[in-house]
Structures are given as C-alpha cells and as structure tokens.
Symmetry: C2
Subunit: 202 residues, 2 copies
C-alpha cells in the first residue's frame, strides 16, 4: 500500500493560489483537502464544511487543550487551525491531503510533520503582483501598499519551501503543481514496498 503524503501549500494574496488548487482538485479528484477550523463569523457566500468548519471559541480552545490541532494561530481575535484527525486519516489511507496555510502555519506543521512536502505559489514579478493587488481599483494607495508589503514578507519566506510554482500562465502553473504531485508518487518513501514485492520470491 502506497503511503500517503501531506502537501503544504502557501502563497500570498495575488499569487492565484486558490484558482490553481481548484483546478488541481478537478484534475486529481482523489486528493483530499484539509478543512480549516476557525472561530470567525461566516461571510456571505461561505458554506460550512467547504473550506472551513465554523466553531465557537470554547470549542476551539478545547481542541487546543486536547492537542487536536496540527497548527493554529490567533489573528485579529479569531482562531484559525488545522485539525490533525483528517490529515492523519488521509495519510494512513495512502492518500495525498493538501493543507493551505500561511508561512507561519507551514513552519509549524513542518516542525511536527517532517515528511510533509511544501509548495509555495509565487507571482511572476513584483510589477505583476502590484498590478494584481491594485486591480480592485477602488482601494486607497495606502491599502494597496500594505497588501503589497504583506505579500512580499510572505515571499521572503519561500526559501523554506520544497518547491516553487510560479503563476504566470495559469495552465502552466497547474501543470507544474501536478508534476510535483506525480513525481512525489515515485519517491522512494512512497514506493519502498515495491522493492520487497520484487525480492520476496528469492
């Protein structure tokens, strides 16, 4: 039985990370997605259990106390976390599971799950990132500058990831992401069992 794999994905606002992942899941529907547990209010258009599980602060703090989270943080008064159970279940079943987190979350997960592979989605250039972050048109220059700084701070951490996928052309970026997954399926850590299969007849 092939061993599964935890795949950590990060990328700043403007990297097009969500669109890439959506297309990857369409192409490889066998891959699982880790649903984050969060305490903030549901926003219009969001669906419980799709990208997030919405829980109470008390419920979340109980998860922390019982060590049920792979990583979590508190941002502007709300908790965001990755539950352990679905990740461990997917891997035990030999499946891949993608966890979408920011650079801090990625660092924390790598500490306790060294076997995870990590992919950073990157805009092709400074100018293009600026263009993407400005394109809503109605935002004040200070708001765009703040968004730009946050994105560049994330990009500076890309060196800690295993792979970089540059999102210049969307289809190419999706291809690249799928290539990383398919290549990982050939990794010795996931194919070790083949050796014994060929040798067992000696």
């Amino acid at each position: 039985m092939t061993k599964g794999r935890l795949i950590i994905v990060s990328g700043p606002s403007g990297s097009g990370k969500d669109t890439i992942l959506q297309k990857v899941f369409e192409r490889l529907p066998e891959i699982k997605f880790s649903i984050s547990t969060i305490t903030r209010d549901m926003r219009p258009g969001e669906v419980e259990g799709e990208k997030y599980n919405f829980v109470s602060r008390e419920y979340f703090e109980n998860m922390i106390k019982n060590d049920l989270l792979l990583e979590y943080n508190n941002y502007v008064g709300n908790y965001y976390g990755t539950p352990k159970a679905p990740v461990d279940k997917a891997i035990a079943e030999g499946k891949e599971i993608i966890v979408e987190v920011d650079v801090n979350g990625a660092r924390n997960i790598k500490k306790c799950r060294e076997d995870a592979i990590s992919v950073f989605i990157m805009p092709p250039s400074y100018e293009e990132l600026n263009r993407r972050l400005s394109s809503r048109g109605t935002d004040a220059p200070e708001v765009i500058a703040k968004r730009m700084k946050a994105a560049l701070d994330e990009i500076a951490e890309a060196k800690n990831y295993d792979y970089i996928v540059v999102n210049d052309d969307l289809n190419e970026a999706v291809e690249d992401f799928i290539t990383i997954i398919k290549s990982d399926r050939l990794n010795i850590k996931r194919q070790n069992y083949l050796i014994d299969e060929v040798l067992k007849k000696c």
Copy 2:
C-alpha cells in the same frame, strides 16, 4: 540562472534502463549524458566518445592520482570511472547531467555530491525479470541464475535511491522519468533565485 542537477541512474540488467534513457534524451535533448572513462577493449559496435571514452590503464591511473574522477571501480581487471570535469561543467551551466552507474558507483557519488538526485529503474516483478533475463534462449540455466542473482542484489539497494521508476510499460516509465526531472526543476534549490528577483524591487 537555474542551477543544474546531477542525476544518478541505476538499474539491473533486465530493467530496460538503456532504452528508457535513450527515449528521455530524445524527448529532452538539453540533458547531458556523462561519458564513462574505461580501460577495457572496445567491443564491436561501440564508438569512442558515445557512451565511453576508451583510455589506457596508465592514463586512467593518472586520472585517479590527480583526483579527476567522481567515482571509479575495477571490474575483472578493467577500470570504469566517471570523470568530474563534464559533470561540474554541466551543473555550472545550469544543466542536468545523467550519470549511469551501478549501485556501488551511485553510493560513491552520493558521498561527495549530496545534491545529486538518484533514480532506480526497476522491473515490475520477479517473474518478469526472470523472463527478460532468460529470453536470449541459448544461455545455460546456471548463467541465467547468476544473472538473476546479480539483478536481485542490485534491486535490494534501491532503497538508497530518491526515486523508483518501474519499467512495466516503456512509455509510462519514460513519462515517469520525465516527471521526476520536470518536478526537480521546480525544486527550491534550483529556483531560489526567483525569490530575489521578485523581492529586489522593494
């Protein structure tokens, strides 16, 4: 400039390694091949400088003395080695170079070139390996048994490689090999420079 990569490839007799590599070079002609330096006599059909450089024993021993080899060994009185210069040149130019060696050669190269990635080409099963090694028809059972044992001894070392490519269907095996190369081009060690490119404008 993308950093190059040394790719070590091994596989026992009967793995179809040579056919796979031939097709990989057809598909990705930018990849270099490391020509081995050897002291045995040229065989019919062999061409100087194609797969091997044929040199004298004295010449080879001078290469050893001057530390010009990445690895070498002596087999039935003849030397076989991988010269350092073409490998280092290809990598400095940001290219991939494939070195085809046996499990001992692979181990020795990994000692001094930790950054190399290694791929082991494997037959799909014990039975198929036996079939392939017997198919010349005219060989005595003892000869086949000896060949089989040598192949199985090599396969037992596959656990030390980074990737396994199973050669059941030739086209799939070629695809798998190319997937490994393409995925490696997205590896952080080869794409680090992209981070600075996006950030340098801050």
